[in-house]
């Protein structure tokens, strides 16, 4: 690769990162209550508990941070899974981690744990994601190939989906069912800083695990034997990526519900910009995902719909036709 291409790549990362940060910052100015954000920020920094300060710190700030970090998680995990499975249709949802996280959170809700203490819901989600990842690892086994991994993911997704439905089915309280179903649709509205504090560290650990796999993913482009011959431990790579995405996506789903298609669409759009290199796609997709999700979350706030459109509904409405187009193109390109 020439130095020019390296510079172009650095420029792309800088542009995406800056855009994501700028939009997240701008999103602090958008909401249903009108107040002066600068006064609010000054009050908050000075420790004055004015209403504006509370609205900024407890409503808009968590929403902006979660939008950016969950978007980063989804974009990065999508790129990592696509690189690992060497399949542009792969997504955190594919390996069953999202489904496991959703069930874990629903279980916390259903058993009443979430009523006992507020953080039980996100904790349940993380636990579900980790259990899914462990089940995946047990099913796919050591040294399993791509097909086995995908099939195991499908099986886990079906099972956790069935368990979630079972919980809804048996729920004695119809309001609880409504609440769960709304949460499952995915949203960043009314999240709090303690939720950020619980989810963000887990996400960061997952990010590090995924970002440090860049070189191995590049090598994997030429198949498993070649990657091994270039000195990479594929079992360790799979484990790192599965566990890393479980932590990051599990924490995301637990806090914000299921937000689909970001992990599928963002890496696909950015791939030509990084010369199709799976390693370089990781960080670019993270920033791209953050940008996309914050913009989408601005969208649901700006759209004149009441009640507010759920974020997961919007991403699915935009993303699903995109997936269809991808499948269509893949079919056409087949010999």
């Amino acid at each position: 690769m020439t130095p020019g291409a390296d510079k172009a790549h650095a420029g792309l990362l800088l542009a995406l990162g800056f855009a994501a940060f700028a939009v997240a910052l701008a999103s602090l100015f958008v909401g249903y209550v009108h107040f002066d954000v600068f006064t609010a920020a000054r009050d908050a920094l000075a420790g004055r508990d004015s209403i504006e300060a509370l609205a900024l710190v407890q409503l808009r700030l968590p929403r902006a941070i979660l939008g950016a970090s969950i978007g980063f998680t989804l974009g990065l995990s999508g790129a990592a899974m696509q690189g690992l499975l060497r399949n542009p249709l792969a997504d955190p949802g594919v390996i069953g981690v999202s489904g496991g996280a959703a069930f874990g959170a629903v279980a916390a809700f259903y058993t009443g744990l979430s009523a006992a203490f507020a953080l039980a819901l996100p904790l349940g989600g993380v636990a579900g994601a980790i259990l899914s990842a462990l089940a995946l690892y047990g099913l796919a086994g050591r040294g399993a190939g791509t097909t086995t991994l995908i099939l195991a993911g499908v099986a886990i997704n079906s099972f956790t989906g069935a368990l979630t439905s079972l919980a809804l089915n048996l729920s004695p309280n119809p309001y609880a069912v409504f609440e769960i179903m709304f949460w499952l649709m995915g949203s960043l509205a009314d999240r709090s800083l303690p939720q950020v504090a619980l989810a963000l560290p887990l996400m960061v650990v997952g990010w590090i695990a995924m970002l440090s796999s860049a070189r191995a993913l590049d090598a994997l482009t030429l198949g498993e034997d070649t990657a091994e011959s270039l000195g990479f431990d594929l079992r360790r790579l799979r484990w790192k990526l599965v566990a890393g995405s479980a932590l990051a996506v599990g924490a995301s789903v637990a806090v914000a519900g299921a937000i689909g298609f970001v992990g599928l669409v963002v890496p696909h759009l950015l791939r030509p910009w990084v010369g199709h290199r799976p390693g370089r796609l990781l960080l670019a997709s993270g920033f791209g995902g953050a940008l996309a999700l914050v913009v989408a979350d601005l969208g649901v706030r700006v759209l004149p719909l009441q009640p507010e459109l759920k974020l997961g509904v919007l991403t699915a409405l935009v993303g699903a036709p995109f997936l269809l187009a991808l499948v269509f193109r893949a079919r056409r390109d087949e010999p």
Partner: protein, 256 residues
């Protein structure tokens, strides 16, 4: 570095892919690994490259078992070219070849001048300089095979173990690639190539190892490949002749 296989066996359920194979390989030689389909050539090549843990027995690099060896050191010393490889993403030829430098690079480090020089040498050796910016997927099968060989050459390892490096090539590039591999061996590298073309094998290799049903049927100078050995290994009658002082072996008809 010498490579030695000691009583190497591979069993997949009831099937025995390799049966107590023992070999000692020294660098500076072009070694051809031949035998019929299913004889265990790929299994042996992968094992020699340290990629497959055997059911029993062991592969040693200079008397050290490969399984005890650090992966990254092994990756710098032994390059492996997989059979029928491809790229899952449409990377450019230059980017593919550059992957061969991964064992020499630290995490997150960009390729340095030595890497760039090695990539340039490999591209030139495989006659790919004009194609270097094209996506691998758009190339013909033979061009793709040469790009993947260039990727393996770019490692600049002590050993190159290549599984069918000439299978997809036209006659011109078959000859060029065999010459290229022989030059590598002449420079002091060890080269092991899995081959199907008996004439190329006999003409270009310094040593031939004939595998049949997971065992070594013959091993030595190319003259070990007599019509009798060909008949025993492949079940075909072969015609052995001479042209310009060089021996060749042609499979002629199915053994009656």
């Amino acid at each position: 570095m010498n490579i030695e296989a000691r009583a190497l066996s591979f069993r997949y359920r009831d099937h025995v892919a390799l049966d107590r194979v023992s070999l000692a390989l020294a660098p500076g030689e072009m070694i051809g690994l031949i035998g019929p389909n299913g004889a265990g050539k790929t299994t042996l090549a992968r094992a020699l490259a340290g990629l497959a843990p055997p059911s029993s027995g062991e592969v040693y690099y200079d008397d050290r078992p490969t399984r005890e060896m650090d992966r990254e050191i092994r990756a710098r010393r032994v390059a492996y070219l997989a059979q029928s490889g491809g790229a899952d993403w449409p990377l450019s030829v230059a980017a593919i070849v550059e992957l061969g430098r991964l064992p020499h690079r630290r995490a997150f480090a960009a390729p340095d001048a030595r890497d760039a020089a090695a990539v340039a040498r490999a591209l030139a050796a495989a006659e790919l300089v004009e194609l270097k910016d094209r996506p691998l997927r758009e190339l013909s099968g033979g061009e793709r095979a040469r790009a993947l060989l260039a990727r393996a050459l770019a490692v600049e390892a002590d050993w190159l173990i290549a599984d069918e490096p000439v299978a997809a090539l036209d006659p011109l590039h078959q000859l060029r690639t065999m010459e290229l591999l022989r030059t590598e061996a002449a420079r002091g590298a060890g080269v092991v190539a899995v081959l199907h073309d008996l004439t190329l094998a006999v003409r270009f290799c310094d040593r031939l190892i004939v595998l049949s049903r997971g065992r070594v049927l013959a091993d030595g100078r190319p003259s070990v490949l007599t019509p009798e050995v060909v008949a025993a290994a492949y079940g075909v009658e072969a015609y052995a002749g001479e042209h310009e002082g060089e021996r060749f072996v042609l499979p002629w008809r199915v053994k009656g």
